[in-house]
Amino acid sequence: MNILKLSAAALVASVAFAGAAAARDQVQVAGSSTVLPYAKIVAETFGETFPNFKTPVVESGGTGAGLKEFCKGVGEATIDVANASRPINKSEADACKAAGVTDIQEIRIGYDGIVFATDASNGDMKLEPKDLYKALAAKVVVDGKLVDNPYKNWSDINPTLPKGPIAAYIPGEKHGTREVFELNVLDAGCKDAGAKDVIAKEIADKAAQGKACIAVRKDGAAVDIDGDYTETLARIAANKTGLGVFGLAFFENNMDKLKVATMRGIKPTSATIADGTYPVSRPLFFYVKKAHLGVVPGLKEYVEFFQSDDMVGPDSPLVEYGLVAAPDAQREQARKDFAAGKTM
């Protein structure tokens, strides 16, 4: 009987505890794994600089998962900030509205470059979006006709590329990086290669036309990586002629193992990404619930601290880690918008 009594008591106690669970004294953040390292640095420094606030808790899980949690509603049990490596889309914004999360403040923290790199033992590689489109698309145009991708070696596409077989490790569908890759590389390359017109002729359906450019071949030459960049790095270490897609920050931390390719003749650096000459980059964001400002202790201070030049300015720890700082005027504007309470 004792055991039964004990377990009943434990259950009652746990439910009582549940009732007592209130008044969160800590900022809760979730979202993009690209923004995660930056958010961690800010959270940690925030905890050290403001001893009266606890260090914010930063969950990872991806942009989509983070925004889903964010749009669950307003209140103690929901998160305060969602990190995102892409802007919030319409269906997510609608879900937010339906759950009562109406006032959302969007904060742009800086830019991230997407770089293409091979193992360090390889020679220099000069890439064009159309080369990557031809190497990775499911269907390409040969002699004015749309056919299944026939290319086997990089040099089949462009004689200046290395001789090895085509292998590319690209971000999987759940990553925000994939969207940028599809738009700035595959779709742009599709246009450059003149495949768009052929596709428009051969496929009648408008929606299918857009998809045809960004459909990736499924014969093993393009491999989706659903894990993080560490997995891509391991794949490249195993396949020396393989090409991997990385964030600039990850590349800069592993420069001794990787050789970066130029895109449209431009080498990815903080400078070329900031001035927009390097073609594959994207802004990074986080979203804040206005209703939580002033309710969750430290939230307002955390956002202001994140926006300060000490964190995202040209000579800040985030830039040291690999973030590309936004231009001065943009940062100033972002701070003003937040202070004025501008919502989406």
């Binding site: 377990s7 390292p37 961690k40 930063v58 993080d228 931390n253 690999g322």
Partner: protein, 439 residues
């Protein structure tokens, strides 16, 4: 099939002179079977060895940390130039301590702090954690200002990796995080004895950090400890009570059969499903906080229950019926029979099942993902309701980090987890020995 037909074929056609009962063939079959067994065993051992080798060869360096021990001048000019620390207590909290540390190191190296490039290179050799380290020293004892103290400072993660030989220094300096000047300084200090490897106690006590040199599994250990405590306190009594009822009291009918099938099925359900359940019930419905080890403990309790119930029922079944019959025959009630005789005899089996279940729960990350425990948590949790992570989660988070210095720390954390699992399993064996009874 062939094994069966061959002796029959032999019997149907006996050789002249002597009965062939296939002795040779049967011995050969036995030898073959033994060889298969040994092959299977060595296959397993080889993979275990490879796993342990890769973890230990990468991870043993994580238990050492490069430190720079230098005299640091707590200069009033840098910390409190206007001498306002008595009127403004915030001053000591927000002073620019990294500059204090950088100037001290530059002095030792003979570098010019007014040269921006050199000053930056010097600053990068020290961990950003020196801010908090020096601040805590000064806040605890403001009399330090104006004096010079010998302090052990954490080297930055990149210097730590370079000193341990984990960064390829043969490639040109543009392609690595440490430049040639820093390597020269590093070797110079190593020769002078001011830079050296020390035992890395921080990896056991520090919370999560974005700086590899200051990162530790402290918060994860506490989180895992709370969760194990909750699992033990809930799963053991509930599991044992359920199994005793099912085994000893419940009538044997279709309904109890159905329950039994369901319990066996639940034991095989992917653990992420329990995470979904936990999110829906504990976080969304009951309103428990996200990322709290209490919710993690509840979810892992649900996950461990089937294992414990199955082990307990097997242990209860293994108690000989004669013991029950004897107790009942001497006038004991059914409950007295169970609690005085059956349960003590089944205890070793129950404990083994419980500890295997706990070990399973200790190594689980998937169900914790959805309830927000896969997170960066720097503060120690004071109660199970505070945010925390768990040991396997910390391993997963570190495995995804970009910095080189996190590679060894990932393996280091795996070693710590393995040690805990070994301890638990040794505990299971010892408890079993202690409680084992023969009849």
């Amino acid at each position: 099939m062939t094994d069966l037909t061959s002796p029959i074929a032999g019997i149907s056609k006996p050789k002249a002179g002597r009965r062939d009962i296939g002795i040779k063939g049967r011995y050969a079959a036995e030898r073959r079977f033994r060889a298969y067994g040994i092959a299977a065993l060595s296959f397993g051992i080889i993979f275990l060895m490879m796993l342990l080798w890769s973890v230990f060869s990468k991870g043993y360096t994580a238990f050492q940390q490069t430190m720079i021990t230098i005299p640091v001048e707590f200069s009033q000019q840098v910390i409190d130039p206007q001498n306002e620390r008595t009127t403004n207590p915030q001053k000591l909290m927000t002073a620019n301590y990294p500059i204090v540390a950088r100037n001290a190191l530059a002095k030792v190296l003979g570098a010019d702090v007014n040269d921006r490039v050199a000053a930056r290179s010097v600053g990068q050799m020290l961990s950003d954690g020196v801010r908090a380290q020096l601040r805590d020293m000064v806040v605890a004892n403001p009399a330090l200002i104006g004096t010079t103290q010998t302090v052990s400072l954490l080297a930055s993660g990149d210097i730590d990796s370079a000193f341990k030989g984990q960064i390829d220094l043969k490639v040109s300096q543009e392609n690595r995080k440490v430049n040639d000047q820093q390597v020269k300084w590093m070797n110079q200090m190593a020769e002078a004895g001011t830079l050296g490897k020390h035992f890395n106690g921080g990896i056991f006590v520090n919370g999560a950090s974005s700086r590899p040199e200051a990162a530790g599994v402290g918060v994860a250990l506490i989180g895992s400890f709370y969760m194990m405590l909750i699992v033990l306190a809930l799963a053991l009594p509930i599991g044992v009570a359920a199994s005793i009822y099912l085994e000893e009291f419940a009538p044997k009918n279709k309904f109890t059969d159905l329950i039994e099938v369901n319990i066996n099925n639940l034991a095989a359900v992917p653990s992420i499903v329990y995470g979904l359940l936990g999110l829906a019930v504990f976080v969304n419905f009951m309103g428990l906080p996200r990322s709290a080890s209490m919710v993690g403990g509840f979810v892992l309790t649900l996950m461990t229950l089937p294992t414990i119930i199955i082990a307990t029922r097997a242990a209860l079944k293994a108690v000989p019926p004669s013991i029950r019959a004897a107790a009942l025959g001497l006038g004991a009630s059914k409950m007295q029979t169970i609690f005085h005789h059956v349960l003590p005899l089944a205890m070793p089996g129950i404990l083994t099942g419980t500890i295997i279940g706990l070990a399973h729960a200790l190594g689980e990350t998937a169900p914790l993902l959805l309830i927000g425990m896969v997170a960066f948590v720097a503060n120690y949790p004071t109660t199970p309701l505070d945010p925390s992570t768990a040991l396997p989660v910390q391993i997963y988070m570190w495995a995804n980090e970009a910095e080189r210095a996190f590679v060894e720390r990932t393996s280091g954390a795996i070693i710590i987890l393995l040690l805990f699992l070994i301890l638990m399993n040794v505990g299971a064996i010892l408890l079993r020995r202690r409680f084992e009874r023969r009849w």
